[in-house]
């Protein structure tokens, strides 16, 4: 029955744990809409024929009690739908504790993912089947929206802050990622894919892509701390200066003077950002004192150093 209705309404495959529940509510609501619509239209036609001009007319109209009854019944049905709908919605907004966190950056017309082990990927996100995956997303420029029809999940990606979405793939396959919030000329080309793989196959793939050196741990830490919300790695300045080619360069300071961006300066800027402010950037960076331990800060500086080469 579910498969028949799904195919009839052209719904995509139910590839996540949410899909089945949402589709069931979907069938009920759309079914009710069609039934009500059909009843109302048949009633209209019947009245139009039965009470056309010249036919005998009953004295009394439809009593108020029918009206109140219909209104009350309809309101109850709507509220029930809201209760079920909101319960499902709340589950979709609270990721489980053991979810695999993948850091996502949406940029005008592409998706970039950073896996927990530091490996980076563009447009294609590989996830193991059966493992809850939580995406911590931010945007580099305008509002985008991470939308996987097969998983029935969608979440806008807002610049300047992080938004979350989570899902659990329940079958292997390639499920398209689309951008649902209008973001410019390339809005319809901003497509990627979630590739759900059986756990064994995923572990093998991951082994090939494990990155263990300090720089990639630094990259993972930077992603976790949300540095990518303001700093880019490809040279284009954003809210803060880009890390590409930063290490070792002399940078102009706010209020005159300049300094060489070495380990000391980078560590100090992490702990007390406004001390030596890079000229031309707003004083926005919060302090990471107490949030980053010594070795963690060193790992991030190591990652910035790894970016000192050409673009």
């Amino acid at each position: 029955m579910n498969e028949l209705l799904r195919r009839a309404l052209m719904l995509p495959p139910q590839a996540s744990t949410f899909a089945r529940g949402i589709d069931t509510l979907h069938y009920i609501v759309i079914g009710a809409a069609m039934v009500v619509c059909f009843i109302v239209f048949v009633l209209l036609l019947y009245f139009a024929i039965r009470f056309r001009e010249g036919q005998p007319r009953p004295k009394r109209g439809i009593p108020h009690s029918v009206e109140i009854g219909l209104a009350g019944f309809t309101l109850t049905v709507f509220i029930v739908w809201w209760v079920v709908g909101f319960a499902q919605y709340r589950d979709m907004r609270e990721p489980p504790a053991d979810a695999m966190r993948v850091y996502t950056v949406a940029k005008q017309w592409m998706w970039a993912f950073v896996y927990p082990n530091g490996a980076a990927a563009e447009d294609d996100l590989r996830v193991p089947v059966g493992q809850p995956v939580e995406l911590v997303m931010t945007s580099r420029d305008v509002i985008h929206s991470f939308y996987v029809p097969a998983f029935r999940v969608k979440q806008d990606v807002v610049p300047g802050r992080t938004t979350n979405v989570w899902f659990t793939a329940n079958q292997p396959g390639r499920f398209e990622i689309l951008c649902a919030e209008y973001c410019g000329a390339g809005h319809s080309r901003m497509r990627g894919a979630v590739i759900a793989m059986p756990p064994g196959e995923y572990a093998a793939w991951l082994a090939g892509h494990r990155a263990t050196d300090l720089a990639s741990t630094g990259e993972k830490l930077a992603a976790e701390q949300g540095c990518f919300r303001c700093h880019t790695v490809d040279g284009t300045p954003h809210l803060g200066p880009s890390w590409r080619g930063l290490y070792g360069s002399t940078i102009p300071l706010e209020g005159g003077g300049s300094v060489v961006a070495d380990d000391a300066y980078l560590t100090e800027s992490m702990m007390n950002p406004p001390a030596k402010l890079h000229r031309g950037y707003p004083p926005l960076m919060p302090t990471y004192l107490g949030r980053l331990s010594g070795p963690e800060a060193a790992a991030i500086v190591e990652y910035i150093r790894s970016l000192r080469g050409g673009p």
Partner: protein, 195 residues
Amino acid sequence: MNRRYHLAVWIVIASEALLFAGLFALYWSYRGEYPAAFSSGVALDIHWIGGLNTFILLTSSFTIAWSIHMMRTLRPRAALWSLAATVVLGLAFLALKLFEWSIHIHDGIVPGIHYYSGPAAGRGISLFFTLYYMMTGLHALHVVAGLSLVVWVLVRVRRGTIFPERYVALELVALYWHFVDVVWVFLWPMFYLMR
């Protein structure tokens, strides 16, 4: 016959209130997001000017209400004087407001988040001052509009076209002026008192 004019002015007041509602919603939402920045922003505002301006506007509300009372008790000359007082008070408010802005701009506090170079630093402070300029600016525009209406009514009272038997225009302008005062009644604590 005057019923439609009163109704119309009250509808204008309601729609102007909604115009300010947009900015109030922005203020309260950003205050919810950056409470510390907004508190330090309020601390930076010049409090004596805010307080004095409140007193001035409250008094001008009284004087215009008084002028209606004078008109109703058949003393158009006294009504004229209290209208003049309202105009003077209104101009004083605007002068103080411009003076306050000049001090702020001198300190490097300017509207627009990219130009802010004022003393307090951190996220949200430039938002506070951009909102400050927008809300006090929009309010100042309404003070100018209200004031020109009061001047127009004052001229007609002097010319005698508004007299004790027909003074609906005075009542309508007074209503609008009271509304402009009510907006300031809310702006004052938001920008000067809520540290």
